[in-house]
Amino acid sequence: MLNKDVLDKYVKLSNGKVGRVIRIRSQLRGKVVEVEVNPSDNEYKYELAALDKEQALTDARFKNLLHIVEVIGEKITI
């Protein structure tokens, strides 16, 4: 996925949460997105996820990161 495909978009993460991509970090290991979610009690407002699903599943440097399951679009439609 390209940056423009996810930036400012709502995405579904591999933990089932839905949130908006607010930043993409271009780290030496690869791209990581910051996602702002609507937390319920005892949860946190920001999540980190790998931009590349394959990298998240196979690369040890991404062991504790979520990945993007689906790009939902500009707004959440219920």
Partner: protein
């Protein structure tokens, strides 16, 4: 569009910049003095941001360059304060800054807690010129924040 010449845009430039950074701590002394912070805390932030190869990021490097420069901007104060608090939390939990997966595991909690303590949104942490230079990495709210 900013006309700054950062010289750290490729991965090779970034790694070379980082390697050079750790030759001495004159940057730490300067930033600690400029922002009236403790030397050891700024040294910890330097280790936290730049020692781990996996997490090297040109955005953080450019914010550090701004911190070292003669300029003063609120975003740099916010950025330095954020990294002091967050790296301190991580150190107290005895997580090695070189352990990428452990850092990832606690980031969402520590990042959220730190922003709450600072009473800041995440877009307040980055200089508008850095946001402009990395336009495709920041959402619209970052671009609009300093206008």
């Amino acid at each position: 569009m900013s006309i700054r010449n950062w010289n750290i845009d490729s991965q090779e430039e970034l790694k070379a910049w980082r390697d050079n950074l750790f030759l001495d701590d004159t940057d730490v002394e300067h930033i600690a003095q400029k922002y009236n912070q403790n030397f050891e805390e700024i040294k910890r932030v330097k280790e936290y941001l730049f020692r781990n190869d996996d997490l090297l990021d040109a955005v953080n490097a450019k914010m550090w360059k701004l911190a070292k420069s003669v300029e003063m901007h609120l975003s740099v104060i916010n950025f330095i304060s954020h990294e002091i608090i967050q790296s301190g939390k991580m150190q107290r939990e005895e997580i090695s800054f070189l352990d990428t997966s452990s850092r990832d595991a606690v980031w969402r909690r520590l990042h959220t807690e730190t922003l709450v303590e600072q009473d800041l949104p995440p877009e307040a942490l980055f200089h508008p010129d850095v946001i402009t230079q990395h336009a495709s990495e920041f959402s619209s709210r970052y671009h609009n924040y300093w206008k």
